[in-house]
Symmetry: C2
Subunit: 304 residues, 2 copies
């Protein structure tokens, strides 16, 4: 017998019928814990981490796994009890976020904002545009999102280099970044938000990128030094697509809004129709693995 805790009643429906021997309780962490919560071994956390009060976990003495619905795990830093495994929903959002990264990148390369302006003005204004063929693309983060962006870039004729937290076959280490930045045309930030990645893309990082290079950030705002990026954009030296900013939401009077050569979306990378059913399909597989004592997938870390 395994007991799992779901954040809301809709989750049961999205999970579908579970194998015999798996009990579910529904609790969002507010109010008194429901009957059976003392047996909860796996908790599916609400999508918004702030929705679950920190002390709620104290009511789940049998807890062994916290399963997130998001790819990012940074809000859980320091909140996971000893001996509890934290798992994310890597894969549920990867396709969507990769697609947004490509949408923004292609929009810049193909000058869609400029053609949109011409369309509004009824102006058939032809121009040569750019493309990925022959471009060198540097992808920071060799996870699911980075891998999909790489595969697409290669189909369109680009050469891809990965940089990860540690050098390994096919992935370069962070120490090589300054040298790599100087010889890549596109830099895509697809890293998790951790203490090591905050402000990784600072003034020196941006200065190392060649003139006319493109920065794409679909990860988290704090990884990029916003002021340093604004300065490079205002100088007309770099181009950028940002789905995330620091701060968020971006204040109305922030200079980033009007920076040239910038495509900006309001943190919508994972927010696509159907994300919940994709996430719960992944959760369902994890719940079955948990129940059967098989190794879990998407483990972020133990005692994160």
């Amino acid at each position: 017998m395994s007991t799992i805790c779901l954040p809301d009643a809709g989750a049961s429906e999205l999970l579908g019928e579970l194998p015999a021997g798996i009990e579910t309780v529904v609790w969002d962490g507010s109010g008194p814990p429901p009957p059976g919560s003392e047996h909860v071994g796996l908790l599916v956390a609400p999508f918004a981490p702030s929705a679950l009060p920190a002390k709620a976990l104290l009511h789940l003495p049998a807890l062994r796994v916290i399963q997130l619905l998001s790819a990012g795990a940074e809000p859980w830093l320091g909140r996971v009890p000893d001996g509890v495994v934290l798992c994310n929903a890597r894969g549920a959002h990867g396709g969507s976020t990769a697609e947004l990264a490509l949408a923004g990148l292609f929009s810049l390369l193909k000058q869609l904002p400029t053609f949109g302006q011409a369309q509004r003005a009824h102006d058939w204004a032809r121009a040569e545009t750019d493309g990925l063929a022959g471009k060198r693309v540097l992808i920071l983060g060799a996870g699911d999102i980075g891998a999909r962006i790489a595969a697409v870039s290669e189909i369109l004729g680009a050469q891809v280099t990965f940089v990860g937290r540690r050098a390994r076959p096919g992935v370069r280490g962070p120490a090589e970044l300054p040298e790599l930045l100087a010889r890549h045309d596109v830099v895509i930030v697809a890293l998790p938000h951790t203490p090591e990645t905050v402000n990784l893309v600072d003034a020196a990082f941006l200065a190392a990128m060649p003139d006319g290079a493109i920065l794409v950030n679909i990860a988290r705002g704090p990884i990029v030094d916003t002021d340093a990026l604004v300065a490079e954009l205002m100088a007309g030296r770099l181009h950028a697509f940002l789905d995330v900013t620091e701060p968020e939401p971006l204040p109305t009077d922030h200079p980033l809004w009007d920076a040239p050569n910038l495509v900006l979306t309001p943190h919508v990378g994972g927010a696509t129709y159907g994300w919940q059913s994709r996430a719960y399909q992944l959760v369902r597989d994890q719940v079955v693995r948990f129940h059967q004592g098989q190794p879990l997938e998407n483990v972020v870390s133990e005692g994160y």
Copy 2:
């Protein structure tokens, strides 16, 4: 000894050094034919077909091959002398055109025009967007462009069906179109412009597409009935990305400009930086094959 004719002096530079035994002459078809033109076996036609007077070919009695720099061959219909082989530059533009198709498609799915409007208004307006995951994509044309769009769509979780001029393994025939249209979310037109494809996408074709479906045309304008498409767009029933229109350029007062849910670019699919060097790399390989008597690639037809 082989003699080839190039449209301008710049072409020699782009071709680079050729194997021994290949002579080149430069002639754009205007003025008297240069010395050696009586030996020309392969003609590299100017990019704009109208730049070469029809009667120029009469001065090339040894002509056996016309090599185009474009993917589209339709302006050469009826202009190729008997016994002369017409070859296009398939592959030189495919990546670029596929990329533009994806740029426009992603722009619609991810609502980039709406987010662009919000950006200009300094408005952090989040919204759920759409994506290719789970979408059914119908690609008309199983050539290089279609194949690249298919590969990318599959990486992002879509299911792809090809329709070609003739049914064959992996490609459905035109007779199945009405039934196929009804169960696909995205239709991409990547067909050559021929008498058979003119107005293929007519009112009945569009009516067979489901509500909210997306039409992408990066092929040629006359393949789509513009008035029928305008009607569907105005009704809010379909969405579209067009890089080509009929007529072209689109007149200032044409209703298409202001149609809702339309992303429009002014026929820039092949016009990317570097297209000439990519095209001439392909021409160079063809010239070597011609000289060595090997089978040619990219043959459109003999006596087209």
